[in-house]
């Protein structure tokens, strides 16, 4: 029971952190609960389907179907995060101002919410398909009796949900006028981390060159199998031994996202007071 609790917790933990960050990034936006819950639901359903087809996916493309699939959904998530950050650069200040000044919910965030719901779905799909595979395995093997192991899995799931809630509460404790600046940076780092992982996964399938199996090794400082290491891995793409192509994808994505947001912020007609510096707070 403890083993299945730990395994399910570890898988759901990473997805949960991403959900917590997305919740904080959409604080106060009308209807975000529906969209994010929809993302979690779609991701969970997708995960059971992917787990069901695990054998077919594994055998696709001469055995590297899994890697291509993972990289593809990560790249979709990166695109959605980039789109969201560009959108926020244009509208974030209005959102923060309207909420703090009038205290009313913001309208017009739905399109950005759709992008973030896709990101949530991808995060849940990725980790959830492993949980589903693991639980299928338990259901199939009866040596210990599936009930205590399923109970362990359930507790693991709840604990991971608690962690994502704690991250969310921690982030929204930031004063509202700074919150979106912080979450936009975190989302840019999340996107860079996902792009880096996509590149690393493709390199591990021998589709991309690795450009050096590891450029550096910081596992003596922070190992990826520690809790802090895996949290940073999920949130900002920390890797103790990054390959060259992973670092290149990380840096490129971060630069493109920061550049796009700057550009979007600058090209927005100033609807605020002239003294307002429109691009100061967005990556």
């Amino acid at each position: 029971m403890l083993a299945s609790l730990l395994i399910v917790f570890r898988e759901v933990f990473e997805a949960g952190l991403i959900v917590g960050l997305i919740l904080a990034a959409t604080e106060g936006v009308t209807g975000r609960g529906r969209w994010i819950a929809g993302g979690v639901l779609a991701g969970s359903l997708g995960a059971t389907v992917v787990a069901g087809f695990a054998a077919a996916i594994a055998e696709a493309l001469e055995g590297v179907g899994q890697e291509v699939f993972t990289a593809a959904i990560l790249i979709v998530a990166v695109a959605m995060l980039g789109w969201h950050n560009t959108w926020m650069a244009r509208h974030g200040r209005e959102m923060a101002r309207e909420m703090s000044a009038v205290g009313r919910a913001v309208k017009g965030g739905e399109r950005s919410l759709l992008a973030l719901a896709v990101v949530v779905a991808v995060a849940v799909l990725r980790e959830g398909s492993e949980v589903a595979l693991f639980l299928y395995g338990i259901a199939a093997s009866i040596h210990a009796g599936p009930a205590p192991m399923l109970a362990g899995g359930g507790i693991g799931l709840l604990l991971a949900a608690l962690v994502s809630f704690l991250l969310y509460r921690g982030l929204v404790a930031i004063p509202l006028r700074n919150l979106f600046a912080v979450t936009n940076w975190l989302i840019a780092l999340l996107a860079a981390g996902m792009a880096g992982q996509a590149a690393a996964v493709l390199a591990s399938a021998d589709i991309l060159p690795s450009w050096g199996d590891h450029l550096w090794n910081t596992s003596f400082l922070l190992s990826e199998d520690s809790w802090a290491g895996s949290a940073l891995h999920a949130l900002i793409g920390y890797s103790a031994r990054p390959s060259g192509v992973q670092v290149a994808a990380y840096a490129t994505t971060l630069l493109v996202l920061v550049g796009l947001a700057r550009f979007a912020a600058q090209s927005t007609p100033a609807r605020t007071a002239p003294s307002d510096n429109v691009n100061s707070s967005h990556p």
């Binding site: 395994i7 695990a54 054998a55 899994q66 595979l133 299928y136 591990s204 690795s210």
Partner: protein, 105 residues
Amino acid sequence: MRIPLFAVALLCLAVPAMAEEPLHLTIKDHKFQPERIEIPAGTKIKLLVRNDDDVAAEFESFQMDREKVVPPGKEVPVFIGPLDKGEYPFFDDFHQDAKGVLVAR
């Protein structure tokens, strides 16, 4: 022309020789066979991981940064390296008593 040539040069540098024969690793009764694999350091290898159990396994290694599901009754390739000399533990993420180590020398 300079950029494509540079890119080609970089690619040539970055693609080390692949060892000719793939290595085999089997999962049976939630144990790896063999539990210790030796490879030459600095060489890229293709490890074929076969799962002879009737439930899914996941070949995982933090040290090699690899994570790959192996469905029951299937064999999947895992590309590894080139690695520096050293020991690289791996395990089955779904059955963590299953452990092994890859030694690059």
